[in-house]
């Protein structure tokens, strides 16, 4: 019976999930294509990276033409690999999480909440950009994001730990021997 529920559940989740993911990936890709095709109708291929800070971005006509920088093949590869990471991770997620017993679903929820606090990485990294462009508002937002993500992380892991240590039998045994 329990088994059946699991199978059925993963059944109806997985297919739409995958479809949505594929469609989303496709949309993302589509957008890019349209965009990149536009400025490049002239046959000029612009290979400009945003990374090198040393060379000040030259204000050539290409750079002015569009604020979005051109999409290199490598960049595209990175994006595709990112999508692959996403898809495979979803599989890992399904496999790993269907093994968590019912009893632990509440801690699982708060624990995964804590993990979603990983946005703190993004929040911290973005500070560099804020400093670079000297954008105080962005800096404020980033700081707020860090604080919020930290609430998520500390609170989530903390409360999960509190719950889980209630489940661990060691504590109980100690009490039992005491009394």
């Amino acid at each position: 019976m329990k088994k059946q529920i699991n199978t059925k559940a993963s059944g109806w989740i997985k297919w739409p999930g995958l479809c949505v993911m594929l469609v989303a990936g496709f949309l993302v890709a589509q957008e890019k294509v349209e965009q990149t095709n536009q400025p490049n109708d002239s046959g000029v291929t612009v290979n400009q990276q945003a990374v090198p800070v040393e060379n000040e971005p030259e204000n050539t006509e290409e750079a002015a033409m569009s604020i979005t920088s051109t999409f290199t093949m490598d960049r595209y590869d990175a994006l595709m690999a990112g999508i692959a990471v996403f898809i495979v991770s979803v599989f890992v997620g399904f496999e790993v999480i269907t093994k968590v017993p019912q009893t632990l679903h509440t801690p699982l929820m708060s624990g995964s909440n804590a993990i979603s606090g990983i946005t703190i990485v993004g929040a911290i990294l973005v500070v560099a950009d804020c400093v670079k462009t000297n954008n105080t508002i962005a800096m404020f937002l980033a700081g707020l994001a860090i604080a919020l993500a930290m609430v998520n992380v500390v609170g989530g892991f903390g409360v999960t730990h509190r719950m889980l240590s209630m489940f661990s039998s060691r504590k109980k045994k100690k009490k039992a021997t005491q009394s």
């Binding site: 790993v96 968590v100 679903h105 929820m109 708060s110 400093v131 462009t133």
Partner: protein
């Protein structure tokens, strides 16, 4: 161009992702779960530490170090303070609200990161997929934020969230669709025109917030846990989208882990309540309230704590059926004490846990674990159901829908939901404050069954009364 440090940092990020996966794997057993959680903590420390190291090394920052580092450290301290306060002070009965709040906070963080990175990069050329991912992150994040706020408010039973939206369903759906379309248009415009990025992003966020509100307010309070799990999934997806913005696989991996977790829990809950996700999200909204209560409840028998004590005092096998009411009354410790007393008198005590008892999956397990009940005594639906005919006394404390035999009939709001077959026990005691219905809002024929007696009163007080009476019994 690629420095050694960058490589090491990125590998450490991947290590963090691996630790998250291993952590969740370890959650598959209560014995190893604590360790799993610690693995997660270590992973997060590594990830945050690496990010900090990257910032520390950044040239731009090293010139104007002070402000930015103060911001970061201050924000971390602030977050830690609030987070640990929440973690330490929250009552186990308030877990659903807490999870909702965390969801909302996570969603908002995603929005802010996307906003900051779009604004800060305003003058630099921006990659297109960064724009798209940023837009998605903003949309999902703001829906999650407001949606979770509404859910938390409803669970906390704040008056503000009680008034329904006075709109017919069709118009509501149309409006939502329109807003969604508006969001997508904003993302599209942002990407194609590439000019008014900030404006568009603000538009996305506002529409997302509205959407979060209109999507969640019509959903009934009983269905909130489902919504929370779904929003949990969304907050993961928002994190994954942020991963595409800042180009970090670790965010993508962790985000999709969380996304998968949320969606699985959502579906398991729906299954256990015998409802489809669609009917939860867009369903008829108001369930027709059954009004034949008086008829059903004609044969209800009252009892007293003393007679319950006599009944259980000489029983061989007692099963407690906890429900949401136990959480409200905070009766878990009283129940566990009574159970220990009964065990000392030689009875076998078990707990029958319905998958959706309480207000979130595994809610009862957490409460009983808090009260030092060994998890080998907690029996799942399919374990305990075949045994009910051998149970001497079944004590239903604060549960209602999960023991409602109406679920076996057609056409009721709980039809088809698997229930605990309490009515097959030799004797049933139901402890609740009145004959008022549970969250599904329908009458419960169990209360009027031949072998059922009702003990009216607050769950904790009643259980304590029984305990006392039992002690006097000697």
């Amino acid at each position: 161009m690629v420095e050694l440090n960058t490589v090491i940092f990125d590998l450490l990020y991947l290590l963090a992702a691996i630790l998250f996966i291993m952590g969740i794997k370890k959650m598959s057993h209560p014995r190893t779960a604590v360790f799993g959680n610690l693995l997660g903590v270590v992973g997060m420390l590594i990830a945050a530490g690496v990010s900090f190291a990257i910032i520390w090394e950044n040239e731009a920052i090293q010139n104007r170090q002070f402000l930015s580092l103060v911001t970061i450290v201050g924000a971390i301290l602030l977050g830690t303070l609030f987070g640990s306060m929440l973690a330490i002070r929250v009552q186990m009965t308030e877990m659903p609200q807490l999870v909702a709040i965390f969801n909302g906070v996570g969603g908002l963080a995603s929005v802010l990161v996307a906003a900051a990175s779009l604004m800060a990069a305003d003058e630099d050329p921006l990659y297109i997929e960064v724009l798209v991912a940023g837009g998605l992150s903003g949309l999902i994040g703001s829906v999650t934020f407001i949606g979770s706020a509404v859910a938390a408010g409803k669970l906390q039973e704040l008056a503000f969230f009680k008034k329904p939206v006075p709109l017919p369903n069709l118009i509501r759906h149309l409006l939502n669709l329109l807003m969604l379309a508006g969001c997508i248009w904003c993302v599209y415009d942002m990407v194609v025109s590439a000019n008014n990025i900030t404006l568009n992003f603000i538009g996305i966020c506002i529409l997302g917030c509205l959407l979060g509100y209109t999507l969640t307010t019509p959903i009934g309070g009983a269905d909130m846990p489902v919504v929370i799990a779904l929003l949990n999934s969304y907050s993961g997806l928002a994190a994954a989208a942020t991963g595409f913005v800042v180009d970090q696989p670790v965010l993508i991996i962790s985000g999709s882990l969380v996304g998968a977790s949320g969606i699985i829990l959502t579906s398991l809950m729906c299954q256990a309540m015998n409802r489809s996700l669609l009917s939860v999200l867009f369903g008829s909204g108001s369930l027709s309230s059954y009004e034949e209560d008086e008829e059903v409840y004609a044969t209800v028998k009252r009892t007293t704590a003393e007679s319950v004590a006599v009944m259980v005092g000489y029983a061989d096998r007692v099963v407690f059926i906890p429900g949401y009411g136990m959480a409200v009354a905070q009766a878990q410790n009283a129940v566990s004490d009574l159970a220990k007393q009964l065990e000392q008198r030689g009875a076998t005590v078990e707990y029958g846990i319905h998958p959706v008892a309480g207000r979130m999956p595994g809610h009862m397990n957490v409460l009983l674990a808090e009260a030092d009940v060994d998890y080998s005594q907690l029996k799942a639906l399919e374990e305990i159901n075949p045994d009910f005919d051998e149970v001497d006394v079944a004590i239903v404390i604060g549960a209602n829908d999960v023991v409602n035999p109406e679920a076996r009939k057609e056409g009721t709001p709980v039809s088809g939901m698997p229930i605990l077959n309490v009515d097959e026990a030799k004797q049933v005691v139901v402890i609740k404050r009145s004959l008022s219905p549970g969250y599904a809002g329908i009458a419960n024929p169990l209360f009027a069954a031949d072998n059922t007696t009702m003990l009216f009163g607050d769950g904790k007080a009643m259980i304590q009364d029984v305990s006392t009476a039992l002690k006097e019994l000697g």
